[in-house]
């Protein structure tokens, strides 16, 4: 798939998420850099807790996007960038929920119950799930 098609399909996913009423409820802020989306996630009941999620859409929709938390300032992966109890314990760094590349290509590779499906595991649906994981991990 050519890069322009990937870019267009990514843009459609980001547009759907940013236009959802959920974006304002969850307080999501998006920054797009080529095929990477940075999403700021803020705990709904503890707004002092914010995290920056990096979502890489290269090869989307053939492959699921990669989701990892990164440092707000450097945008590098650091252990301190992760909310409590969200990161999977094994390599690679990632989040073990359907819709993430790390889930479909590593820990649940070949899992017939959860095959990668871009129509089912949209950016909006995966982002909402990760947001809820973050809130549950932080508590409150």
């Amino acid at each position: 798939m050519d890069i322009e098609t990937v870019r267009a399909k990514m843009a459609a996913q980001v547009s759907r998420a940013s236009q959802s009423a959920m974006a304002s409820v969850f307080g999501w802020v998006f920054e797009v850099q080529d095929l990477v989306v940075y999403a700021t996630l803020r705990h709904r009941r503890r707004p002092e807790s914010t995290y920056l999620l990096r979502v890489v859409f290269d090869e989307f929709p053939r492959r699921a996007p990669s989701y990892v938390f990164v440092d707000h300032d450097t945008k590098q992966m650091t252990s301190g960038a992760w909310p409590p109890n969200v990161r999977h314990g094994a390599e690679p760094l990632g989040i073990c929920t359907p819709g993430t590349r790390e889930f479909h290509e590593h820990w649940h590779r070949g899992d017939a119950q959860h095959p990668w499906d871009p129509e089912r595991y949209t950016f909006l649906a995966t982002l909402q799930e990760i947001h809820r994981l973050m809130e549950r991990g932080v508590g409150g």
């Binding site: 009423a21 959920m22 409820v25």
Partner: protein
């Protein structure tokens, strides 16, 4: 609050539904109706909760009982997070 209805948005990962909803109908019934209209299976409704500002709402109560304000956004979200 015209005609005992209130203007709200229900938001789901399948889409949003913004319109006037009856204040005297239990929230669980509204949830099923909204799910059906957004092509979400209402028979799965028990797996989903309704939240306002991150707080779970008592679905046995009506919008009026819950003092939900006009133009609020209610989120229909899974009760359990999916982490496998």
């Amino acid at each position: 609050m015209a005609n005992n209805r209130i203007h709200l948005t229900f938001s789901t990962t399948a889409g949003d539904l913004e319109e006037d909803f009856p204040v005297n109908q239990p929230l669980h019934a509204l949830k099923r109706e909204v799910m059906g209209r957004l092509k979400l299976d209402p028979s799965q409704a028990d797996q989903f909760a309704v939240t306002l500002d991150g707080n779970l709402l008592d679905e046995s109560k009506t919008l009026g009982d819950l003092n939900v304000l006009a133009n609020a956004v209610l989120v229909i979200e899974r009760r359990d997070v999916i982490k496998i």
